[in-house]
Symmetry: C2
């Protein structure tokens, strides 16, 4: 069932969140009239949202038969990390080849400093730490994506980011040691970008994503 509370978000964001959070399990038929009644809007914005989410790969669509939340098998989760690694590696390569502008460098340094701050000060793992690290992580990766100045690439990477969240209904449970390793990897990638070492940046980024992949798969195995 879909909450009607948050009307501030667009219908598309609302439905996407419901799918990615697991509120709408795979196989759920998303019917236009039903959704329009539940969300209190007409069928028109509902249709727009369904088309958008279908294009993003979250829904299956068949003409005259409507939209269904599609399956997200674990095997595809693994593949998604492989794809993400290849794309983000390429983004790191592009960024290293073209160089960082000052504002990008500052943004990355701030996210790194913020991550280092909390990882050196706190000795216990809790939701607060995970939250901060999650934000700095996103900031780091997003900046490199934007820095590569390639709309196509960033668009694709956004797509490949959505899949892992589906199966990760619980946030991946990293240990503090693991988080520190991931942070060190971020720092090494940043150094490669500064040194304009394209191949090194590519390789480091791919390995970094592979490490996250292992943690995600392990977390998934443990929770089942």
């Amino acid at each position: 069932m879909i909450s009607n509370a948050t009307r501030s978000l667009s219908v598309t964001d609302h439905l996407r969140e419901a799918i990615l959070s697991g509120g709408l399990p795979a196989g759920t038929k998303l019917q236009e009239v039903r959704l329009s009644e539940e969300l209190g809007v007409s069928r028109t914005p509902i249709r727009a949202a369904l088309q958008s989410l279908s294009a993003a790969g979250l829904l299956d669509y068949a003409p005259n038969r409507g939209y269904v939340v599609r399956e997200f098998p674990i095997s595809e989760l693994v593949d998604a990390y492989e794809i993400r690694g290849a794309l983000e590696g390429l983004a790191a390569r592009f960024t290293a080849e073209r160089g960082l502008v000052d504002s990008q460098r500052q943004t990355i340094e701030q996210s790194l400093a913020r991550g280092a701050d909390i990882l050196t000060s706190s000795s216990v793992m809790n939701d607060h730490v995970l939250g901060i690290i999650g934000e700095t992580n996103a900031g780091f990766h997003d900046t490199i994506m934007e820095a590569s100045l390639n709309r196509l690439l960033s668009q694709m990477t956004q797509m490949s980011f959505q899949i892992p969240r589906v199966s990760n209904r619980n946030i991946i449970a990293f240990s503090l040691d693991e988080l520190r390793q991931r942070h060190d990897e971020h720092y090494l990638i940043y150094e490669a970008l500064l040194a304009r070492s394209a191949t090194k940046a590519d390789t480091l980024m791919r390995d970094h994503v592979a490490s996250v992949k292992f943690a995600a798969v392990r977390a998934l195995r443990e929770t089942r």
Copy 2:
């Protein structure tokens, strides 16, 4: 201006073709009422088409300001081939790791045989040869994409395929020798897939796409 002749195609296909063929140059505002009048349908299917093409990355969109055909700079064409190489290389890797089923093997062999047939028999380059080769090319790559059994990957690759066509309003002018080289590369990739040599298949596919990239860039430089 948009031809109203081909009504068999959907509105989305019609508009996509108009954009990719250059009939609607970058910067063109696509207005709903205008398009609905020109194509003889209501605004509803027009809106669906515009949303779909925007999600596919062909149109820029701003709320309350509509859709505009976006720019496709040459630099992005080059990047698109890099992305395509990374993704198709990954697809080749997946396919090699998981193996080809008989039907896939047959499809690939047929496309290879058809390509070999025309490339060995004909000694002159014309539109007929280019057309046949174009089809067999698409068949080869599509089969590997499908064989990798990854919807996410095939979806992304379809996206990265669209960009090159935009700047290539004229089909890339390959020579017969070049086409034969590309065909040989296809055959080597196929052998690597059969041998389950994942890394080799990946590398060969990336190099193959890189070769096509060089030809595309050269063709673009020559026509300007």
